[in-house]
Amino acid sequence: MANAVHTEKNTPEIDALPLGRTVAKPRLETRQNAGLTEVIFEGVWATYSVGSIDQQMRLLENKLSGERLRIEMSDISYLDTAGAWMIYRLLRSAKVRGIEASIDGMRTSHKVLLEAIARAMEDIDEDDSNGTRASILNRMLSTIGLAVYGFRNDLQMGLHILGAAVRGSQMKLGHGSGLSIPAVVNQIDRTGVTAIPIILLMSTIIGAIIAQQGAFQLRYFGAEIFVVDLVGILVLREIGVLLTAIMIAGRSGSAITAEIGSMKMREEVDALTVIGLNPVGVLVFPRLVALVIALPLLTFIANLAALAGAMFVAQTYSGISPDAFITRVRDAVDLSTIYAGLIKAPFMAIIIGIIASVEGMKVGGSAESLGARVTASVVKSIFIVIVVDGAFAMFFAAIDF
């Protein structure tokens, strides 16, 4: 039977394994006399033990000289692939230098192992160096270059997804618009309705904080009533929509990226394509529509909550009654202020949805890339949302809105 050979393999007792002090180390003895190098191997040459002797072996390989090399293996008490690899390395180095090598005291199991290694490694050439690293300047420039190209690709892909989402959903035969209402409603429920409690809570607190800080500062000028103007305009124009968008980017953007990304990982996106559906149309469009509907509504809720928070603080800290507060709000805020905030919401929804989808589609095969993409999705959408908010502010200022 084929296993005649391996039964004689000397398996060490489990106690010989590295249990603190009792490690049986590999040992090496070299004798040099007149052109003959003798190398005597002793002890345990196993994966767990050879680490300590690697350095010594390499030194020996590098200064190998003379005409003949004799290897003595009979004192080896245990040999596995790693030990055999070291002996093979010595033999290979001898061969390269034209030194004639001979082996004594080799057991059959050792021979089988050495031959298997020689066979496995014969087609490998010595130096498969993994290329030298580029200089620092080079790497710095290439990072910048890659970032620029990455930005261009993101932009292109974003436009592609926007286009495909609109067009792709219309490609059902004879079904008119391919927008599936249940899918959108489901998404609105997931991205919008379930977000209401946290949005309410966050906005109330933010409104209260702004009112409190404003009241303290304006008290110096005896103009505490203007805290209402401050809160009203700041919340309605900027803070309400901005914070809602940031919250949704963190909450729903990450979810969209993770969902699409894990579908991409398991080839489900490819399955959609093969079935004849446009994955962007099926996956992205309902989410995009849901976000575009949900985000303005959430913003509206956030605005009301922030004003309520401010009203409460105005009464407790400054003694402004709710009646006075509401009257003052009516004077300070006109319809265009409310619109200036709300009009930004759909744009931000589209940005969040597109970035989340782009990042989701970029997920590769590994779990790590999914994590990296989700992070990138959230960070990018929050950043772009803030930049766009700034752009809107400048635009509104320019047109006096």
Binding site: N3, I14, L19, R58, T81, G364
Partner: protein
């Protein structure tokens, strides 16, 4: 062959999930240096037994002795030593997707040992070559490999520390017949060179007939029969009979005297 030297011995194992008893009073011996083929209908608990031996699944009762150590009475230090002597090839490879093939193979080395980086690289390439992958695959990620390559790379990782025992869960499922035959050959070759003991869960009759020294059949919550192919073919257990002598098994070439023995029955 050292027939009376079990490297794994399992006694009276009982495993159940809720009310669902999967294994009851199961005994099994695996001998040093053999390739044990483990078969059984789907859902009979082959993977559960494998996971119990590896300590991944709690068992309600029974004793598992690996390398002469009772796994329930072992110190944590010894447990690590025993773990180092076992390698596992999971059914879907279970390569870490965020690491390259080379890094995957080096995970056990890094975890248990302190080896110089140069040596670890060399050993990783060596292991890859031993399992029949070119060293070029070393820097690829698992998602860039084919199914057969993943199996081989996962085997290389299982062999990273030169274990005494390797567990293979359906190693040839999902491979084409030629790839599967090559994989069987590889297992046999590695057993002969590295002196491995192989515990192989499989559904592949060809694997059983070509490389398994002994076969154990799981059914009815225990090992129904264990023995050589010839003994399997003589068994009267209905499941064993239909498995080894059913339609799909017929084309297998049997030794002459076995065939005659079967025909006489």
């Amino acid at each position: 062959m050292a027939e009376n030297d079990p490297i794994i011995s399992v006694r009276d194992i009982h495993v159940q999930f809720g009310d669902h008893v999967v294994l009851h009073d199961l005994d099994l011996d695996v001998y040093r240096g053999e390739i044990l083929g483990f078969v059984g209908a789907s859902g009979t608990g082959k993977s559960v037994l494998l996971r119990s031996i590896l300590g991944l699944n709690p068992k309600q009762n029974g004793q598992i002795v690996v390398l002469g150590r009772d796994l329930d009475r072992i110190s944590d230090e010894e447990r690590i030593l025993v773990d180092m002597r076992m390698g596992v090839l999971f059914q879907h490879g279970a390569l870490f997707s965020s690491l390259t093939v080379k890094e995957n193979i080096q995970v056990p080395m890094r975890e248990y040992l302190t080896l110089p980086k140069g040596l670890m690289d060399e050993l990783a390439i060596l292991k890859l070559e031993l399992v029949g992958l070119s060293g070029k695959a070393a820097n690829k990620y698992p998602s860039e490999l084919s199914g057969g390559m993943i199996k081989r790379a996962a085997l290389a990782r299982a062999l990273a520390l030169d274990p005494d025992i390797v567990f293979l869960d359906e190693p040839t499922s999902g491979l084409d017949p030629i790839g599967a035959a090559e994989f069987d050959e590889l297992i046999a070759k590695l057993r002969d060179t590295l002196g491995l003991t192989v515990y192989m869960v499989t559904h592949d009759l060809d694997s059983l007939f070509t490389v398994a020294d002994r076969i154990a059949v799981l059914g009815n919550k225990k090992v129904l029969v264990a023995g050589t192919i010839t003994e399997m073919l003589k068994s009267d257990e209905p499941w064993v009979k239909s498995y080894f002598r059913g339609k799909r098994a017929r084309r297998i070439d049997l030794p002459e005297e076995t065939r005659i023995a079967c025909m006489e029955r």
